[in-house]
């Protein structure tokens, strides 16, 4: 007897859950702990094998693109924290960079060093979170605790810098709001040592040659290079399929063209290869952070770009000079007016290619803002790679795609 729609059971459950054949339809999520937030995955099962998978998204939709059309450029920046809330500086930065490209300005050197540091620190935070939740999904409870311990240290560093642990808003259009506090660089260096040690002696020692871990991950969720390209996979998902493409290297922004780092690639195309890739990327991030520490000391103290038409003058100028105060007043009350034009700026966020498309009509409000979120396309991929796998592997594959629903639903 099928369920009849009535007023109290809304009809979005209009699926036939009982079939005459041998398949069964189940809802995976949106409250499943392994669904990484708000993923509702409708799976059609034949025994334990998935016959059809249908990812249903939208449970975390807040209309961020709509809000962008109703906020001035500076007002919108803290909203971008809520996209990929695991690595919010990456979103702040991607948005700020897109607006800067539109304005044609560049952040001063010290701001660039700080931004690159924050971006890489965020990559470590995000990758540690990936490792923790992925290992927990697969069944390795202790890795979760160890990884969250190191993530706490990284979040302490973020807290020392900007005061927030999760929603940083630590980047501004045209630079950064604050200089590094005293002793921060020493803490960062200590953190890099800690992460390097823990990656090698804890996570990799626990997992890489672990029989259970290898059995659960090897040859699970295999994505060929053609498939990955066609489905719009970016970041670790693309490099995990053997395509060596990292936006930091190929289309460098900030200081990445001056830094020395490698792009790890996994040729096996499976979940295990992607896990190895994430571990390697964390090591590369600490390598970048170590190179940035001496670079910081050689920079001038200026933190915001000089563009009086778009960006307020430093506080001491506002407080002492009348014209700077007037411009600041106009910028705060009316908002900056970028030139007419459209821009698409890709950046390499921890999840993949995070790009902002901004269409400006010369108004203080963006005419259209489109956020190209990597997780959105990785969620689309699920409908193909889950078919033919077993229900136990579904969790592994969702974990390895590393999707965050803040940016899937936006």
């Amino acid at each position: 007897m099928s369920q009849q729609p009535n007023k109290l059971t809304p009809f979005f459950e209009n699926l036939n859950f009982e079939r005459d054949d041998n398949t069964m339809v189940i809802n995976f999520g949106p409250q499943h702990p392994s669904a990484h937030g708000q993923l509702r995955l409708v799976l059609e099962l034949d025994g334990e094998q998935v016959v059809k998978a249908y990812p249903d998204i939208g449970y975390l939709h807040r209309g961020i693109e709509k809000m962008a059309e109703n906020m001035t450029y500076n007002e919108f920046l803290p909203t971008t924290d809520r996209l990929d809330y695991i690595a919010s500086t990456a979103n702040n930065y991607a948005y700020a960079l897109a607006v800067e490209k539109l304005l044609g300005i560049e952040a001063p050197r010290r701001a660039q060093v700080i931004r690159t540091m924050l971006l890489e620190l965020n990559r470590v935070i995000s990758h540690l979170f990936f490792l923790a939740t992925h290992a927990l999904d697969v069944g390795a409870m202790s890795v979760f605790l160890y990884a969250f311990r190191e993530r706490e240290y990284a979040m302490d560093l973020m807290e020392d810098y900007c005061g927030a642990r999760l929603t940083h808003s630590s980047v501004r259009i045209g630079g950064v709001p604050l200089d590094l506090p005293a002793g921060w660089l020493e803490n960062l260096a200590a953190f890099c040592d800690k992460v390097d040690y823990e990656v090698e002696h804890t996570y990799e020692a626990l997992l890489t040659e672990n029989r259970i871990w290898k059995m659960r991950l090897e040859d699970v969720g295999v994505i060929s290079a053609e498939e990955a390209l066609s489905w719009g996979c970016t970041g670790p998902m693309l490099r995990g399929s053997g395509v060596k493409y990292d936006i930091r290297k190929e289309e460098p922004y900030e200081l990445y063209s001056e830094l020395d780092f490698d792009i790890p690639v996994a040729e096996t195309c499976d979940s295990y290869g992607r896990y190895r890739l994430y571990m390697e990327e964390m090591k590369q991030s600490t390598r970048i952070l170590r190179q940035l520490i001496p670079m910081y000391k050689k920079t001038e103290p200026r933190l915001m770009a000089h563009a009086p038409q778009y960006i307020s003058a430093p506080k001491e100028e506002i407080m002492t000079q009348n014209y700077a105060l007037m411009q600041h007043f106009v910028l705060v009350t009316q908002g900056m007016r970028p030139p007419k034009g459209e821009v698409y700026v890709p950046t390499e966020s921890p999840k993949g290619e995070l790009g902002f498309y901004i269409k400006s009509e010369g108004e203080p409000y963006a005419y259209r803002l489109k956020c190209r979120a990597p997780s959105f396309f990785h969620t689309g991929l699920l409908q193909e790679i889950l078919v033919g796998t077993y229900i136990a592997d579904v969790v592994t594959i969702i974990g390895t795609t590393n999707i965050v629903f803040g940016e899937v639903d936006r």
């Binding site: 906020m71 490209k101 066609s230 719009g232 009316q334 108004e363 959105f376 193909e384």
Partner: protein
Amino acid sequence: MRKYTPKDNVQGKSYYTDRFWVAPRVPREEVEEGSHFETVVNALGSQVKESYIEVGQLVVHIDASENFAVIKTLRDECGYKQCSEQSAVDYLAQDGEFELFYQLLNHAEAKRVRVVCRIKKGEAIESIVPLYKSANFAEREMYDMFGIKVNNHPFLKRIIMPDDWEGHPLLKTYPLHGDEFASWYEVDKIFGKEYRDIIGPENRDPAKVERYDTKRFSRVGYEVPFGADISEGEKEQAIEYSETILVNYNAGTKQLDERK
């Protein structure tokens, strides 16, 4: 006389714009001879209506009916193996048109091309899912947000909004706080439309503060007993402090902060 507010674009607008303000334009560059982008423009031939380079990326304007052929050429002949993004911009108020863009990426050359075309309101566009599977979700999102129909899409269905939603949220005519349908969505669905009068519009406003409600709202500056009726004006309540002092910091002579 009341000021007329345009209904075809209800998004945020600047409250003041200088009379003599003319917005500048982001510089557009010509496609350089001998560059990679020139081979792209030559490969597309007469299908290109306009082409220029804006902020380092090639922008190609084409006819909307040729979108599939143009993107197929870009993929097969110019090496653009990935469609990063695909969406639309609403120009219904100005031109009665949508502007669609396809953001393509060539990994070997590390170059990006944006293919731009315009369609009239009510027109459909050909799907590029046979070329790029990533367009599956992107085109569904475009249909959901703008109501643009996509021909030959394998499964054109709302993706982010509920299936039974009315209206397309990213249209310029759609207000930020939602329309009437949006505000009554759950009530209509669970109880039925006749319950709108019983529940009342004030209970659909999440920012509503009941002036005389002493059960759910505290009163700043006044201590009012829980559930007291204050609709007739509230009694002056003397603020009472506790008589028992737990720690009397004033009594001791010990200097807590040694710097002082």
